[in-house]
């Protein structure tokens, strides 16, 4: 028995020594610096990132990039736990919804000093992308996927109903009428996912309302203009212009309905262009969201951030990779465009030529995107606490469109909690 105990103790000690020795060896070794790069994506997207990392490795020998990837739904949780565990990635992508909250957690370092030192020309990016990467006048990253939340038009459904593709100045009234004309039996005019506030803001903006006031410090979705817009959506739902299942439908479901011709119109991000194109025979166009009495800028325009972790011990290496990945002189944007992962964040025709293929639907994506960005796009009023407010609003939207509660009652019911979330985040 004694021998067994001794053997176990010796084994444990040996294991500990081997592990300690391994660490020591790693610390003493010389060679390329390894940096961690976190991003989200599906298997196709991971392939694109792999190509970019390979191209970066082929270009130089001093820095190696270790990819850390997760699906979008778990990604920011993974990032947070990585940071809390003291293993913050050197370079990380952050969805703009999380940007202000991550900044409040001191997750990112400003890159102003690096941009100035290396004379990186940030004026080449679409200005909305730079705005969404900036806080209190300081730049925290370079834009990724600066793009529009489009209205997708199913050309087969429209042609079948004898309706032309709407022009840019179409209004919410036109939209409702078109949805009415498209609706026929099992076919519906429009579908909308109600999992977040971004999907309803175009309609709220069209009526002159907003989620927050101009200072982004006060919750305003319970004000009359916003309530009117929500009531209108509920009326469309009650009239049967929107499928009943829209209430809990997720993106993949909307894509399935759209390509099957069950709906004529849907809202969708640039990533859904790629997934819709993947369906053989899908004919569709992307346009702006309907305008309204309050103005033309009713289409959500958003970007994301790729920045350097504030805890990074390899800032120079991280910056070098970031410039390659997202900088105007790097190859990253070009590789993203070739893979059609997203539309250009840099205002350069050469990237549009790579991204927009006139033989593929949507055939007017370049022209329409540029017009929407210039005349119809609007940035979300992103601020700290956005997600908490979003989590409060989304279930109420489901209650409103299903007729379980009026828009006014629903928004008033959560107004105090939403305001408390905003106050807490400041």
């Amino acid at each position: 028995m004694k021998r067994t105990v001794c053997a176990l103790a010796l084994f444990t000690c040996a294991l500990a020594l081997v592990m300690a020795g391994g660490d020591a060896e790693q610390e003493q070794s010389e060679g390329p610096i390894t940096i961690d790069y976190s991003f989200w994506g599906n298997p196709v997207a991971i392939g694109v990132e792999r190509d970019i990392i390979d191209a970066y490795h082929a270009m130089q020998d001093d820095v190696r990039v270790a990819p850390i990837v997760s699906g979008y739904s778990d990604y920011h949780t993974m990032l947070l736990t990585q940071m809390a565990g003291g293993s913050s990635p050197d370079v990380m992508r952050i969805d703009s919804y999380f940007f202000q909250d991550f900044l409040a957690l001191n997750a990112l370092r400003t890159i102003d000093d690096l941009v100035d030192r290396d004379n990186v020309d940030t004026s080449v990016y679409y200005p909305q992308g730079i705005t969404e990467n900036t806080s209190d006048g300081e730049l925290y990253g370079l834009p990724w996927a600066t793009s529009v939340l489009y209205m997708f038009i199913n050309l087969d459904v429209f042609e079948d109903a004898g309706i032309p593709v709407p022009d840019f100045d179409w209004t919410v009234d036109d939209f409702v009428e078109i949805a009415r004309q498209l609706t026929d039996g099992d076919r519906y005019g429009f579908a909308i996912g109600l999992g977040g506030v971004s999907s309803i803001l175009p309609f709220v903006w069209a009526e002159g309302g907003d989620l927050f006031d101009e200072s982004r410090e006060r919750f305003t979705l319970n004000e009359p203009e916003a309530v009117r817009a929500l009531d209108r959506l509920a009326e469309m739902y009650a009239e049967g212009l929107i499928p009943e299942d829209s209430i809990t439908a997720q993106t993949d479901t909307l894509t399935r309905w759209f390509v099957n011709g069950q709906i004529g119109m849907r809202m969708g991000a640039v990533s859904e262009i790629l997934s819709t194109q993947a369906v053989e025979g899908a004919r569709f166009e992307v346009i702006n969201m309907p305008t309204g009495p309050a103005g033309n800028r009713t289409t959500v325009y958003k970007s994301n951030i790729v920045g350097i972790g504030s805890a990074s011990q390899n800032v120079e290496a991280a910056w070098d990779f970031l410039k390659f990945l997202r900088g105007p002189e790097g190859q990253g944007e070009e590789l993203y465009m070739i893979a059609k992962r997203m539309s250009p964040a840099i205002d350069d025709q050469r990237y549009w030529d790579l991204y927009a293929d006139p033989t593929l639907y949507p055939r007017n994506v370049e022209g329409n995107s540029k017009i929407i960005a210039a005349e119809y796009g609007r940035l979300l009023p992103l601020t700290g606490g956005w997600l908490e407010v979003d989590n409060l609003v989304a279930p109420e939207l489901q209650g409103i469109v299903s007729g379980a509660i009026s828009a006014e009652d629903a928004m008033n019911r959560i107004a105090d909690d939403a305001q408390a979330a905003l106050d807490r985040a400041r």
Binding site: I247, T248, I405, R424
Partner: protein, 290 residues
């Protein structure tokens, strides 16, 4: 303690050490840490601020906490007894000699090895308004059911899918329990003229009661922690009708950055599960026969 006993104790400890260390590091310490975090205001990356019992006081005033607790209780107390009853019935059926017995055992167990996400993705088109289930109802001349779009129907639908997913697991446990019952009891009962129902109520049910107790206890613990199925299938909708307590804990911690508040909820959930498990154990003395 003699030298021999001490040596055996040390040896036993050494053999248990890997498990004990894991248990301490990954279960006991996090549980204690969770309670400590529940007494703080912590946004995960900043320095926690001690707030005493404030998070627990906030819970009492939080309507969403009570709503999600109610949803979780609804899910657990409806699902667990039905799940156990159907699993037992199937186990009894598939414990008999019948054609295709192994095939049915495999088929019923298949959903258990399927991932929750795949389960939700498969079921989603079936329970849509124009899905297969409503198609079958229409063929029978019955009206369609708003399976996941109605606040009244969404939770029963989730329960139905949850039962479908787990039924094979509990059925296998019941099968193991049934096969431990000596055949001679049934033979004697048959000779005495006992009907099938009498054999079930007088022999099977009492002798399988330890298994039933295990199934009820484990299923209740798992049910209180339901998260993935509701997250993927309904996202907690419509209108929070299927948002469970663990979903709200996740939201509070990782989306609202309120780790202290989320930990307070997690601790309350721990206490609830503990209390119900103790109650079940206490009541077990009345109906479980070892």
């Amino acid at each position: 303690m003699t030298r021999r006993a001490r040596a055996e104790f040390v040896a036993a400890l050494a053999f248990l050490a890997p498990n004990l260390i894991g248990f301490l590091l990954f279960l006991i310490l996090p549980a204690i840490a969770s309670l400590a975090i529940a007494l703080t205001r912590w946004r995960l990356l900043d320095v926690p601020q001690f707030v005493g019992l404030q998070n627990f006081a906030d819970l009492l005033r939080d309507g969403r906490f009570w709503l999600t607790l109610r949803n979780t209780a609804y899910y657990s107390f409806v699902r667990v007894p039905i799940n156990a009853a159907i699993s037992l019935a199937l186990a009894v059926l598939l414990n008999r000699k019948m054609i295709g017995r192994d095939f049915f055992r495999v088929v019923l167990f298949l959903p258990v090895v399927m991932s929750i996400v795949a389960t939700a993705v498969i079921w989603r088109p079936l329970v849509e308004s124009s899905g297969l289930l409503n198609g079958v109802l229409a063929a029978l001349g019955l009206p369609g059911v708003p399976w996941i779009t109605s606040t009244n129907w969404a939770m029963p639908t989730v329960i139905m899918i949850g039962i479908w997913k787990e039924i094979g697991y509990y059925m296998v446990i019941f099968l193991a329990g049934l096969q431990a019952i000596p055949r001679t009891y049934y033979e004697a009962a048959s000779i005495d003229g006992a009907s099938n129902w009498q054999q079930f109520t007088r022999i099977t049910f009492p002798l399988v009661s330890p298994t039933t107790f295990f199934v009820l206890t484990v299923a209740m613990i798992f049910s209180f922690q339901v998260f993935a199925l509701t997250t993927v299938l309904t996202g907690g909708g419509p209108a929070n009708a299927t948002t469970t307590l663990v979903m709200y804990i996740y939201q509070s911690g990782f989306e609202n950055f309120r780790m202290g508040y989320a930990s307070a909820m997690a601790f309350v959930l721990f206490v609830i599960i503990l209390v119900f498990t103790l109650i079940q154990k206490r009541l077990a003395n009345r109906w479980v026969h070892y």
